[in-house]
Symmetry: C2
Subunit: 367 residues, 2 copies
């Protein structure tokens, strides 16, 4: 590629579609960094009309999510034939384009046998270690042309991550990758939200885990389309299953009751069944026309995050203006409380020219 076009999102997207992995990596770096080019890249990807089916994996620390992701990649590769299509039983294969976009595109079809992985790294300086070891192992698959693995750091604020990850998945989709696994290492609020903003959300627990935590099970019920009891060769598996079942019994469910799959990721046991269960959920969503519904809801939440990030950015521009400084002075002097100060600043932001100088995303992505 000529040097002049190496940073042009449209050129990069063309190259990525043609199988240029470096171009795809560069696009994903753009999206991760944020800024005007990120916006162009994400906009192009959105308008490509191609979507990927997304599967989120989240779970307790040490539950084995990375190993499970590793195994799911292996199952995917085993099920993917020479024709580039995954087997009927799993979630693989090209996705329908929403909004009437092109669906039978040859590039997409030829890339039907690829899988993307977005590994969301911890958002704080404090986690790592063993996790990094898992990642290194997972990278073995990265040598396979049918696998594209990307780590993303979660340093964003104000929805930075909530915007960057769907953008990254869309860029992968636009490059012809029809299936994207989104795996979180951290279990912070942001990470869990990102993993659950997917078509199928897999919640991974381990035997005995249920004893320790009583308070937040309702939160898990809200996000899980599928439960995995990993390390199911350990004592306590039956009790954990019973615990999950009774939680499900107490939860108001729609037409889909999240199945509970037992796996031993270290040996691969049960991972085929997990793969099938993901495929079942995908078919459930597709056959009932629910996929479009949940995707629209998700998109609306995402736009709200973008909106907030842009307003925050606009305030960032306004904050050193004399009226803003006056408000902050009043706050420091104790004449205004933080809420009164925020109200005055809100009025200033709202009355600033909405068609003024372009406000670039992201408000808080990156540091």
């Amino acid at each position: 590629m000529p040097a002049a076009t190496r940073h042009d999102p449209a050129d990069l997207l063309d190259a990525a579609r043609g199988g240029d992995r470096v171009a795809l990596a560069r696009l994903l770096s753009m999206v991760e960094r944020g800024g005007p080019r990120s916006r162009v890249a994400a906009g192009l990807a959105y308008r490509s009309g191609r979507t990927a089916y997304t599967v989120g994996l989240t779970g307790a620390p040490g539950a084995g999510k990375s190993t499970l992701t590793d195994r799911l990649i292996a199952v995917f590769l085993g099920h993917t034939g020479e024709d580039g299509h995954a087997g009927e039983d799993g979630p693989g294969g090209p996705d329908q384009a929403p909004g009437g976009g092109p669906s039978g595109d040859p590039a997409a079809a030829s890339a039907g046998g690829t899988i993307g992985v977005l590994a969301i790294d911890p958002s704080s300086p404090f986690t790592g270690g063993a996790i990094l070891g898992d990642r290194v192992r997972m990278q073995d698959h990265a040598l396979d042309d049918r696998v594209f693995i990307r780590s993303m750091a979660t340093r964003g604020q104000l929805g930075g991550l909530a915007v960057a990850v769907p953008d990254a998945a869309r860029v992968m989709a636009a490059a012809g990758i029809p299936l994207v696994l989104i795996e979180t290492v951290g279990v912070g609020q942001q990470e869990v939200e990102v993993a659950s903003a997917t078509d199928t959300t897999v919640v991974v627990v381990t035997p005995g885990w249920g004893d320790a935590i009583q308070a937040n099970k309702a939160g898990l019920m809200e996000i899980a389309d599928l439960f995995v009891i990993n390390k199911a060769d350990r004592a306590g598996t039956r009790e954990t299953r019973r615990d999950l079942e009774s939680m499900l019994d107490l939860t108001e469910l729609g037409e889909w009751r999240p199945p509970i799959v037992e796996t031993v990721a270290s040996t691969g046991q049960g991972v085929d069944a997990l793969w099938s269960a993901i495929g079942d959920h995908r078919r459930h969503l597709t056959e009932r026309g629910l996929l479009e519904v949940i995707r629209r809801e998700r998109l609306e939440r995402e736009v709200r995050q973008v909106l907030v990030a842009r307003i925050d950015q606009r305030y960032g521009v306004l904050r050193s203006s004399p009226p803003s400084v006056a408000v902050l002075d009043g706050l420091a002097a104790g004449e205004l409380d933080p809420y009164e100060a925020a109200d005055r600043l809100l009025a200033l932001v709202a009355s600033s020219d909405p068609d003024g100088p372009p406000v670039d995303l992201p408000g808080g992505r990156g540091r």
Copy 2:
């Protein structure tokens, strides 16, 4: 207290000032929940002119933060004499009021021998277990009238936590508690930010920890006023200290070089030295007039969070209006990408009546 006033923030604050712990607990619940009453309570607390000196504790998972907090409470209690004032060497004692508020208030003085602890619980459904055990132990101190411990869940979005925790610390201050420890269990981005939005931030690491993580040390250097190597009876302590020292050598520091204190929280070893080091940092800030500077910066960041939360809330009201729905329809149809949609919604939000119906905080606190 008569039933009619049990939910009135002003009445509750009066009662809390008089030593009514139930009233204080109720105020803190208000602040944690958010909403109009929270705003009133936080505003009253801010205007009380009383502030607390805040100490944040954050660190790697399993580093022993809860045990260390427990020990710090014990040191505080040991140093607090009958006159209700902590010893000269530590961070205890009533804080000066900012903005020229009253400082020598008798209620505050009589409560000078109390310590508040805000324990920030994990933000996701996935963590807990051992942590909860630590908490139960810490609660032993809660039987002591001079200790007020409060757990807060971190379920907020869009700055909910970043607003609720300082509000809670201010409520404690207004009730006459001059020193508040803010300890995070989780190590997500939000939790770390909250712990570092304090007057003195203590970063806790353990021997050998430095080997595992290379990438984010710069982030730790940014937030730490003080490093603790806990479990310093273990192998690798010397290497960890050397590692931290060389990181500090490479960091552009101001006048304060973060000391490194070695502790064994399980036995209490070194905790007195930690207490003194916190006191040193407090004196450093006070004597150089830096305390007011960092507090103003922090308050500005907090107001920005409040601003964003309020705008998000305003959008929440607007989103079902016909113009918003039209934008979202265009998005779903692929006529607009998420960024274009956000821009149009931004224009709608900005042109909505800023003096319209009251927009209650918080935008996203709670679920």
